[in-house]
């Protein structure tokens, strides 16, 4: 068939339909934006972020450093959740439970298998959380909206209960203590020669957490900008059209859930290490809601939004609790205001800025750019 000739050349100049008045500029712009290796681009960004974090860790007070450490364990879980909910359209109220899986795996491994390298423990924890995510995700792929929310909520409520049931193994109410990693001698002496100071355990943990968190962000960012990220979004936007484009809906949903669960597992592992403890009280339903609040505040689907959301979550919690104490509440009352404020904040953000911080700023930006174009 001679007709096959034109087919082999998709850029052939046989024009279809209306005469295309191609200005070329906007499409050329879009094409240019992506030039350069994804790995190099995202890698440089993360390196820059690391330098920024290192500066903060070196200049801030020990208390702030410990807060940054907390932020480091929230970050992977929040980033994973924002990808799942914002890009793939699946809601999860159970990510606190997936963090618990990662945290308990880390604690058990460190307790029973002394001498295992921390990175290996972290990887195993991530994989175990991923396997749980696979099971939950396979069920989740069949559920929508409120049903999915309900199912994952049940996970968040039920799973920490296992720690009470198997208290011999998982420590029951008291949880499991985790002995945090010490800096390897090489790194310690390198740090000393560089900074002229001892590397405190606290600071080392914050570094450890942030390096892991940034690696997670780097990998997630690669995925989000790849074909897989695009297909997750396609499934979110239009199921029928996505299927006709050759996308297996169930497969993409489960895949997004597993990726998200692995991230939560990393977060949980860091939580156990940074707080030196994993217990049912550290992975309550409030944690799951906190993660959800963070992604909504930051902006669904945005990794930068995840960072902002994590910061808000950590620093706001302390501010709220302090305010409560100042107002004359006792410690437990003050601690309970935070979830209340999360809830209120969630509602306010949904009403006032449903795109979250990053989304709202981006929106304002593009509106201004459009206005400028129209004015020019």
């Amino acid at each position: 068939m001679s007709t096959n000739l034109s087919k082999q050349d998709p850029t052939g100049d046989s024009q279809v339909g209306t005469t295309p008045e191609v200005t070329g500029t906007p499409s050329a712009d879009t094409a240019r934006r992506r030039i350069g290796s994804t790995l190099v681009r995202n890698g440089l960004l993360m390196l820059l972020a690391f330098v920024g974090i290192a500066l903060l860790l070196e200049t801030l007070s020990p208390f702030r450093v410990s807060q940054l450490g907390v932020m480091a364990y929230y970050l992977p879980a929040i980033a994973g959740l924002t990808v799942l909910t914002g890009l793939n359209g699946q809601i999860s109220l159970g990510h606190g439970a997936l963090m618990a899986v990662g945290g308990y795996t880390t604690a058990v491994l460190l307790e029973r298998q002394e001498g295992l390298p921390f990175l290996l423990v972290l990887l195993i924890s991530a994989v175990v959380a991923g396997v749980v995510g696979l099971v939950v995700g396979a069920a989740a792929a069949r559920l929508h909206g409120p049903y999915l929310a309900g199912a994952t909520l049940a996970l968040a409520v039920g799973l920490p209960g296992l720690a009470l049931k198997f208290d011999e193994f998982l420590g029951g109410d008291q949880g499991l203590r985790v002995s945090p990693p010490r800096a390897p001698d090489g790194i310690e002496s390198f740090y000393e020669s560089l900074m002229g100071d001892n590397l405190s355990g606290q600071r080392y943990l914050a570094y450890y957490g942030w390096i892991i968190a940034l690696v997670v962000l780097l990998l997630l960012s690669n995925l989000v900008n790849s074909r897989y990220g695009r297909h997750w979004r396609a499934v979110r936007d239009d199921e029928v059209a996505a299927e006709l484009a050759g996308i297996d809906l169930g497969r993409m949903r489960v895949q997004a859930f597993v990726v998200s669960a692995v991230c939560a597992g990393v977060g949980g592992s860091l939580l156990a290490v940074v707080t030196r403890l994993i217990a049912p009280t550290s992975v309550t339903i409030v944690l799951s809601f906190g993660l959800l609040t963070a992604i909504v505040i930051g902006g669904l689907g945005s990794l930068l939004g995840a960072v902002i959301g994590a910061a808000v979550l950590v620093f706001m919690q302390q501010i709220i609790t302090d305010t409560g104490l100042d107002a004359g509440l006792d410690a437990s009352q003050a601690a309970n205001i935070a979830p209340l404020v999360y809830g209120v904040l969630l509602i306010v953000v949904m009403l006032a800025a449903p795109r979250g911080l990053v989304g709202t700023v981006r929106m304002a930006w593009s509106t201004r750019a459009a206005a400028r174009r129209a004015g020019a």
Binding site: Q8, P20, P26, S226, R230, A234, R236, G246, D248
Partner: protein, 273 residues
Amino acid sequence: MSQQSPLGTATARSGSSFSVDKVTVRFGGLTALDSVSLHVQPGEVLGVIGPNGAGKTTLFNVVCGFLRPDEGVLRWRDRELKGLRPHQLAGLGISRTLQGVGLFAGMTVLENVMTGAGAQAKAGFVSALFGLPRSDRDEATLRDRALAQLERVGAADVAGRYPGSLPYPVQKRVALARALVSEPDLLMLDEPAAGLSNVEMDELGDTIRELSGRMAVMLVEHHMDLVMRVCDRITVLDFGKVISTGTPDEVRNDPAVLAAYLGDENETSGLEA
């Protein structure tokens, strides 16, 4: 273009012929399709018409794997399509546009079109995860193909925009580009002219004729003048049965077709025009 499909490669002689053989679909007591048969050859435009409720959409849904036929078989390149699922179509070299536009609202026009050829990307999950050059190359190729296709349909200037901000006819062109970017051998168009002006419909007609040089086209459409102008053959459905098949002239003069359309002033006048 060699298609790597589960069905293997077809011989050149049999081409990419698609056929529906005695397909029956029942919804409870209602027979939506009753032993419907039709076929479409490479380079041919087949129109499927019929009054409302004749079973056109049901037929398309069967062909796309959204519905399982109770009886009958689908054949593509001389192989039977068994247990077809919608997401396998793209890999088989079959594309379909949707009634309306069905664009992904949260993605740019370019990303929308790139998604259309996503099933053909080679780089795997690990490449994407680590941002390896393999994945980047894949993306660059997809991007180029999507841009080329957008230029062909005359929508390259809106590549960076979101579908919601575009006029409806432009959205339809983007949807067409998304269906074409995988370079299908069979293109199914579900009411492509809905919502278009007469001028735009004329352009669409030219587009469809042009496309038929490269692929088989199956068209479900209400606008008789468009169907009569662009189709090589027409299959007419009524109450789930094929009541007529033939060239536009044959169908136009078929008493059974006229009877089926009688009472619908617009479409009858369109038929006689």
